[in-house]
């Protein structure tokens, strides 16, 4: 090989290496942040929700399975002290809730807001917070998970990342989580796209009703 060809050859080699590196690094050019990688993986694996013990705003205690009771479950994660994204998240959840026909709340779907700040979000706080979003405390409940290990396991399973900052707040990712009737994760949806989320949920419900 003469010098010129050798240089060209090396350039091609380097570019191929680069393409390979970026391909593996981004799961085939699909994900550029670890967050999107997690989401992608979750949607593929559809993990089942751990059967955590919930305590709701009316001080009732039950496991997740008892609560779900073979219904679809629509979940968000929040904490009441949050001044930024959580109020928006819950407002959007309310807007989705309003788009679901009342008949489905009998035995097809339940809404659940889970607080990851159980030390501050006791039933009293939750029952106040719930009223801001017109949650009825029954078909849409707000609850906390008291056991720290159970909570960590739940967050880990659903890919919810919660980082406490120095001011008593948390930085966390937000999404709508939609759980199947047998307790598997079905969808993670963008919480800013209310209509899209409602349509997705209704598609599942309507299909079920027809069958």
């Amino acid at each position: 090989m003469d010098k010129n060809n050798r240089t060209k050859f090396t350039i091609i080699l380097v570019i191929l290496f680069g393409v390979g590196l970026f391909y593996f690094g981004t799961d085939g050019f699909r994900v550029y942040t670890a967050e999107s990688a997690r989401m992608y993986e979750l949607q593929q694996n559809k993990p089942s929700i751990p059967n955590v013990i919930l305590q709701d705003s009316q001080e009732r205690t039950y496991t997740f399975d008892q609560f779900a009771d073979k219904k679809y479950v629509f979940i968000t994660f929040m904490y009441t002290n949050c001044g930024t994204v959580c109020p928006q998240l819950e407002l959007n959840m309310r807007d989705v809730y309003k788009q679901i026909p009342q008949k489905y709340f009998d035995k097809d779907i339940a809404f659940l807001s889970i607080s990851f700040d159980p030390s501050r979000d006791n039933p009293e706080v939750l029952s106040k917070y719930r009223t801001y979003f017109e949650s009825d405390g029954d078909t849409w409940r707000m609850a906390r998970v008291n056991d720290p290990d159970e909570l960590d396991n739940l967050l880990e399973t659903l890919g919810v990342i919660v980082i406490p900052d120095d001011y008593g707040n948390f930085q966390h990712n937000s999404a709508f989580y939609f759980i199947s009737k047998n307790g598997n994760l079905l969808e993670i949806m963008d919480f800013t796209k209310i209509d899209e989320a409602a349509t997705t949920v209704l598609t599942y419900l309507d299909k079920e009703a027809r069958d």
């Binding site: 240089t7 090396t10 670890a34 930085q171 990712n173």
Partner: protein, 187 residues
């Protein structure tokens, strides 16, 4: 040869677990200090390879373009948010970071920069300036958290850091264009 030794010492210092953990605990230090220092250690170590294997560099990196390309690819790869997160969560990615930035970025950078013509140099220079501006703009502007291991506030800091880099590059660029470089050439 002496500087290759210093480079190696710097490299070993940087990969010591406590040092690495500390540098990686802050986003801007991770990206704008640890990573460039790794490249710099490779830059110094390059001397050893150049003396030991002159023929290899002459054969495969004659005009400096393959080496520069390799450097750019490695550097850009580590600008991907997922790559940075992976380095913190997966051991082998962390090891690859140390290896790639030092030996696949620092070493070829040393060997290539001097060989590049002034046109290629300018392109690389402008590319880096633009990269810093775009990255700064993105990291300051994005409302969501890009790296799971770092808070948004750190992301913003990194953005401003990138803009500071861009400002330095632009200033130096002016200096480069508007001064007579031949005055400083030692022949």
């Amino acid at each position: 040869m002496k500087q290759a030794m210093y480079g190696l010492i710097l490299f070993i210092f940087l990969i010591l677990p406590p040092v690495a953990t500390f540098l990686e605990s802050i986003m801007i230090i991770h990206m704008h200090m640890q990573m460039p220092l790794l490249v710099f250690s490779g830059f110094l170590i390059a001397r050893f390879f150049q003396i030991r294997f002159p023929q290899f560099f002459k054969n495969w990196n004659d005009n400096g373009i393959p080496g520069m390309l390799l450097f750019l690819i490695i550097w850009l790869y580590w600008m991907i948010p997922k790559a940075m997160d992976d380095a913190l969560t997966l051991q082998f990615v962390e090891i690859f970071k140390f290896f790639s930035l030092t030996f696949l970025a620092g070493v070829p950078l040393r060997d290539s920069w001097g060989k590049l013509g002034s046109k290629a140099k300018s392109i690389v220079y402008v590319f880096f300036t633009l990269k810093f501006i775009i990255m700064g703009y993105l990291y300051i502007g994005i409302e969501s958290q890009i790296c799971n291991n770092y808070l948004i506030i750190e992301q913003r800091t990194l953005g401003w850091g990138s803009l500071a880099f861009a400002a330095c590059f632009i200033l130096y660029g002016f200096y480069w264009v508007f001064t007579d470089q031949s005055e400083f050439k030692t022949t």
